[in-house]
């Protein structure tokens, strides 16, 4: 449309004065999109972390705390669940498989998860995808460790490398020299898992017996002074685990999950919490929902401020353009055309700002995705804008049009009043 072309050329000729206004639109659109993208990515990542599991059972605790700790390795619970309890669960006739998980140690900021072969056999993520090895396998001796994809990538490990675990403190996300280390019992990397985009990528996996073994000569979080058990001595000891953090349970019949949940929640013996993962995640989103709404409101406000700035910049420049508007009226433009011209200009500037903002978010997402995966186990969406982002962009452009109404109206009145002879 000729009017749009004229508007673009006009805006381009004043790009110096408008550049700051456009920059503020770029930043505000970037903020808006970032909030949406982080929310979307976090929800998808969390939801994809565990698939096909019916229950996560652990010591009596808030369901969210249990799930966050067991699956997302976030937080430290006060207590654990007995190994006997885990075996009783596994023996229940309604249970098809269980994956016991024990957390506590770390390696250079990444959590160490002690489990058994059931993990590699039954764990699913995303759309019921099983775990796969990109390097090596789960075969090896007692002190073998399987690495998540991001751990191996970030620390540069391959099959055959050796590493030492640290006691506690994976939550800090960084290597803390104050942590006590299990240097006397180094682990050998037996395999590296293929990337999953879930917290699996940022964890290390050892056997439950190995976890028991490295803590034999420890008590209360520190090595017992004067006691040192070499690897050769371990054969004399019972390496059955005593405690686990949680058990992931798959039932033979999914429909039985409600009564099995009730059964484990209210059973005699140690107090347990049985959590349906999808239900607990919804509770998580309910909790974060309020904060998300606040963030949305702030981002919308920032955009409003930026668009006001744009309107103000265009309004301020109208005085110098009265000659230009008079010329247009002389060649036959109606005052309505003048109004539409300003609207086109506002739309073009908003579209430019929004496109640049989108580009900024894409680049930031690509740049930050590895860090987000390593630190939080969240796979940031780096593809094209999601289904929720396009409507946001459309709303931004509509808002830009609305903000252009005031300058357009002013220009309309000016061109009406000035006619052929503006008072410049």
């Amino acid at each position: 449309m000729a009017l749009m072309l004229l508007a673009c050329k006009s805006a381009w000729s004043r790009r110096g004065a408008l550049s700051l206004a456009i920059l503020s639109i770029v930043l505000s659109v970037a903020l808006l999109l970032t909030v949406e993208r982080v929310r979307h990515s976090a929800r998808a990542s969390f939801a994809a972390s565990l698939s096909g599991a019916d229950l996560v059972i652990g010591p009596r605790d808030h369901p969210l705390r249990l799930l966050l700790h067991a699956i997302f390795h976030i937080g430290t619970p006060d207590t654990g669940m007995s190994w006997d309890g885990a075996r009783r669960i596994a023996a229940d006739p309604a249970v098809a498989w269980t994956i016991p998980l024990a957390l506590g140690d770390s390696h250079r900021g990444f959590p160490v998860v002690a489990t058994n072969t059931s993990f590699f056999e039954h764990y699913r993520y995303g759309r019921a995808q099983p775990l796969a090895f990109s390097d090596g396998s789960n075969a090896g001796g007692l002190f073998r460790v399987v690495l998540g994809a991001e751990v191996a990538r970030r620390l540069g490990y391959r099959s055959g490398d050796q590493l030492a675990l640290s006691h506690g403190g994976a939550d800090a996300g960084h290597h803390d020299a104050r942590h006590a280390h299990h240097h006397d019992k180094p682990f050998t990397v037996s395999g590296v898992l293929a990337p999953t985009g879930t917290p699996v990528d940022r964890a290390l996996y050892i056997g439950l017996h190995a976890m028991q073994a490295i803590h034999l000569d420890w008590h209360g979080g520190a090595p017992i002074p004067g006691v040192s058990l070499g690897a050769a001595d371990l054969g004399k000891f019972n390496l059955e685990p005593t405690q686990v953090s949680a058990v992931v349970v798959g039932l033979k019949q999914r429909a039985a999950v409600l009564r099995m949940q009730r059964k484990f929640n209210t059973g005699a013996g140690e107090p347990l919490s049985a959590v349906i993962p999808a239900v607990a995640l919804e509770q998580l989103w309910d909790l974060t929902g309020a904060a998300e709404r606040v963030l949305d409101a702030v981002a919308a406000l920032v955009l409003a401020v930026a668009l006001c700035g744009l309107a103000a910049a265009v309004l301020a420049g109208l005085n110098e353009r009265r000659r230009e508007l008079a010329i247009l009226r002389a060649v036959g433009a109606r005052p309505l055309h003048v109004f539409l011209l300003l609207l086109c200009e506002g739309a073009a500037l908003t579209v430019t700002g929004a496109a640049a903002g989108l580009l900024l978010v894409q680049l930031a997402a690509i740049g930050l995705a590895p860090w987000a995966l390593a630190r939080w186990g969240v796979a940031l969406d780096i593809g094209l804008p999601s289904a929720a982002e396009w409507p946001l962009l459309a709303e931004v452009i509509c808002a830009g049009l609305a903000a252009s109404i005031l300058p357009g109206w002013r220009a309309y009145r000016l061109s009406l009043a000035d006619g052929l002879a503006p008072k410049v």
Binding site: A48, S51, Q253, R254, A255, A256, Q261, A278, E282
Partner: protein, 208 residues
């Protein structure tokens, strides 16, 4: 003093049983205007049966009376009487083994209930349980096995949330025990499942 949750469960069970074991006059299924199915051309060679509105008690066999597990008058028991505890355990056992109504196998029905999400596709619900009443896994006891439908959605849905009231349409099937250690030949039916054709959020307009 009996654990409050157990007392609630007994009371709720008594009420539910009172409703279940009464003989219902007339048909359990009443026809509703046929809904156009979103069936793909490969689904059914013959014209699909019309969708019928179903009530939850239709999923129970008419002769199922768990009240028989209560051999004594519950109201006469004191709170911590071991017989009450036993009765509760027997009740829970009965509900766990609640039999299905074989006549419902293959019935194309539309039934209303509440959602419990089971599995998601990156956050969009793909499998859910449909239960007859609100709060079935929060503060109320779980329903018996013949009052739960394991629903598979045709497409993952982002708009469905926990405890949303919905109407689900589809063909009801008896679920078979699929565990690996089920001896071949011993096919035990353990509940209902359905591949949903449509899941419609409940509003007063969609009620009929």
């Amino acid at each position: 003093m009996m654990d409050p949750s157990r007392r609630r469960m007994l009371v709720a069970a008594a009420i539910a049983l009172a409703g279940c074991s009464r003989e219902r006059p007339g048909a359990d299924l009443h026809p509703v205007q046929s809904q156009a199915a979103t069936a793909s051309p490969a689904a059914a060679p013959a014209p699909a049966a019309p969708v019928q509105e179903a009530e939850w008690y239709a999923l129970q066999p008419r002769d199922w009376e768990p009240a028989r597990t209560f051999n004594e008058d519950v109201a006469s028991l004191s709170d911590n009487d071991p017989r009450a505890v036993e009765a509760l355990a027997r009740l829970q056992q009965a509900w766990a083994n609640a039999p299905v109504e074989p006549g419902m196998d293959g019935a194309r029905i539309r039934i209303g209930g509440y959602i419990i999400p089971l599995d998601t596709d990156y956050g969009a619900v793909s499998e859910l349980l449909l239960v007859p009443y609100f709060g079935a896994c929060i503060h109320a006891p779980p329903p018996p096995a013949n009052q739960v439908i394991h629903v598979f959605l045709p497409e993952p849905r982002r708009d469905l949330r926990m405890m949303d009231p919905v109407h689900v349409s589809g063909t009801l099937r008896l679920a078979r025990d699929r565990s690996p250690d089920n001896v071949a030949g011993l096919i035990e039916t353990v509940g209902y499942e359905m591949a949903a054709e449509a899941v419609v959020p409940y509003t007063p307009d969609t009620a009929n």
